[in-house]
């Protein structure tokens, strides 16, 4: 999310509008500070306390919540699953989005295909989770039913069994988010002037050369934004996993990720334990993870943007 401030050429009468600008910005800033920033800071503070919520007074316990977390297998399970979405899901999402972006470029129904690919991103995650559940249901599921119908009985699986349910979750997320990243990457690729490819074709460049010499360097900034967006999306994605993992009930622990665990220990589930300090500590881990990875990506991908 590089923000290039318009440089230089501002006419004198538009300069130094600080005070006027403040009145335009103040309402948005106030809401932002009140609803996002202040609670984030409060969450950090709550993570150093033990607190059962309203009616209880928070007791300062220092780093106890974190110590407890780092010794808990449940936490590391959630943590690793979150990293699994990030890495495995990310690899798949970017592989497919790249492939589709390159393929769609030359396909006639491009706009239609892109719209369908993107569609899951405007559908309520609960509805997606219901659909995914119906697809993968062990008995009478669409996928197993389909495999049997075409004679591939041996390929049927109990897709929701604890040992593979999380793979089913990742597959679902890849299905949902690929369309989103196709859209972003395509916008970057569409900006590349056609004559670059024509020139490459004239010189007899292969598809691979075109990918590495033209497409990648010229979409590098868009790629970097996409990578940042993926980190944020992957770490905070919650609703699909929550609804899918629980089929409408408490999600099975085999599908817990960091946000699901925050919800489970602090707020929700049928028998909430309202461990607000614990929950906040996990939320802080999430924020730190996002921050760390975003800075890392910006560092790695920071390279002179090719102007064209």
């Amino acid at each position: 999310m590089e923000v290039s401030s318009a440089k230089g050429v501002s006419p004198p009468h538009l300069r130094h509008d600080g005070r006027r600008a403040a009145t335009f910005i103040a309402p948005a800033l106030t809401i932002y500070l009140l609803i996002i920033m202040a609670p984030t800071v409060a969450t950090v503070w709550i993570s150093f306390t033990e607190w059962r919520g309203i009616g209880d007074s928070p007791e300062f316990v220092g780093l106890d919540n974190y110590r407890h977390l780092f010794r808990s297998d449940t936490f590391w399970g959630s943590f690793n699953r979150t990293l699994g979405i990030l890495a495995v899901g990310g690899l798949l999402v970017f592989f497919f989005s790249f492939l589709f972006t390159m393929l769609l470029r030359e396909m006639r129904a491009k706009k239609f295909l892109r719209a369908v690919l993107f569609f899951p991103n405007v559908v309520p995650p609960v509805a997606l989770a219901i659909a995914w559940g119906v697809l993968l249901a062990p008995r009478n599921g669409l996928l197993n039913g389909f495999l049997e119908a075409i004679g591939l009985d041996f390929a049927t699986r109990t897709w929701l069994a604890p040992d593979i349910i999380f793979r089913s979750v990742i597959a679902g997320l890849v299905w949902i988010y690929t369309g989103f990243f196709v859209t972003i990457l395509m916008a970057g690729v569409d900006r590349i002037p056609k004559h670059f490819y024509e020139a490459a074709d004239l010189e007899g460049a292969s598809s691979r050369q075109k990918l590495f010499r033209v497409t990648l360097p010229l979409t590098w900034d868009v790629l970097s934004v996409a990578a940042v967006l993926w980190v944020i999306t992957a770490i905070k994605t919650f609703e699909f996993i929550y609804a899918f993992g629980g089929s409408g009930t408490d999600p099975s622990i085999a599908t817990w990720t960091l946000p699901v665990q925050v919800y489970a220990v602090a707020l929700g589930n049928r028998s909430p334990i309202f461990a607000l300090g614990q929950g906040s500590a996990i939320a802080v881990v999430m924020v730190v993870l996002v921050g760390f990875l975003v800075v890392l990506i910006r560092r790695i991908m920071h390279r002179r943007v090719v102007e064209f």
Partner: protein, 286 residues
């Protein structure tokens, strides 16, 4: 010479084949999504006792009963109203304050504009989970939990970073001639802003759509911040219907609920998908 040509032809053939295979794969993926949607819609018209027995059968009768069940399960009249109020209100308020902010951040020259845009963008990275606990406590202090007002205010807050970020992209892309002309004629900053606003309308519409769709589909905040039956939004209604399935096993009623929630989205999407998609990409590529 001939063998080189042949080799080239073979290579080209292989390339064409792999491209054809790739295109086929895109179509399979797309048809898979469409088939799933079609199956859900058809299933919403089927009978509960046969829906999973004959997976691929067409509905044998117009089972509109499912939809009236769904209407009750979702408490649709109430939840739709609540969703419209909170999502509509939240979106309108977000736009009303995000637009001037984005305008000032991109079109007025002052020190700190650029870090300020980054500061707003920072909020995109904050997960709802990192704010929800203090938010619940804070809102209950001022009696705004279990209140549609409280939820609307929250929706406004969580949409703000992305809305500001998106709209700075739009405002930055506007030409400055009109603005300068207005300034030269001595228009006040507010007047200049109102001159620029119509130019930014496509961007505003796209941002509003993206914000509204996101809020319409949201259920975590609504679930935590409201708890009375009468305060539920449609997203929470669908989640509860899904949860109640454990006891009722009324699958077709659930499918009908999904179809009810999807219908406005499908209509909106067929009509405006280009705006949504292109609006979304401005922020990423500008």
């Amino acid at each position: 010479m001939e063998s080189v040509l042949e080799l080239g032809a073979a290579k080209r053939g292989a390339r064409l084949a792999s491209k054809g295979f790739g295109r086929l794969f895109v179509w399979v993926w797309v048809l898979f999504s469409l088939a799933m949607l079609a199956w859900l819609i058809l299933a919403a018209f089927k009978r509960n006792n046969t829906v999973f027995r004959d997976l691929w059968a067409l509905p044998d009768s117009n089972e509109l009963q499912n939809f009236s069940d769904a209407w009750d399960l979702l408490n649709l009249a109430q939840t739709t109203l609540n969703s419209l109020l909170t999502v509509g209100g939240g979106t309108a308020l977000t736009m009303a304050v995000a637009a001037p902010a984005a305008y000032a951040l991109t079109r007025m020259r002052f020190r700190g504009a650029s870090p300020m845009v980054s500061f707003f963008a920072l909020g995109i990275g904050v997960p709802v989970h990192a704010i929800i606990i203090p938010l619940f406590v804070g809102l209950s202090e001022v009696n705004l939990t279990n209140s549609l007002w409280g939820l609307t205010l929250t929706y406004m807050g969580v949409s703000m970073p992305f809305a500001v970020f998106l709209m700075t992209g739009f405002f930055r892309s506007l030409p400055s001639e009109l603005e300068e002309a207005a300034v030269v004629e001595g228009a006040s900053p507010l007047r200049v802003f109102s001159v620029m606003l119509p130019l930014a309308r496509p961007g505003m519409v796209a941002s509003a759509l993206i914000v509204a769709v996101g809020l319409w589909n949201e259920f975590l905040l609504a679930l935590v911040l409201t708890y009375d039956e009468g305060k539920r939004t449609i997203g929470v209604g669908l989640l509860n219907t899904f949860g109640a399935m454990r006891y009722t096993s009324n699958w077709v009623g659930l499918f009908a609920s999904v179809v009810i929630m999807l219908t406005p989205l499908i209509i909106l999407y067929t009509w405006l998908s280009r705006r949504i998609i292109e609006g979304l990409t401005v922020g990423a590529t500008k």
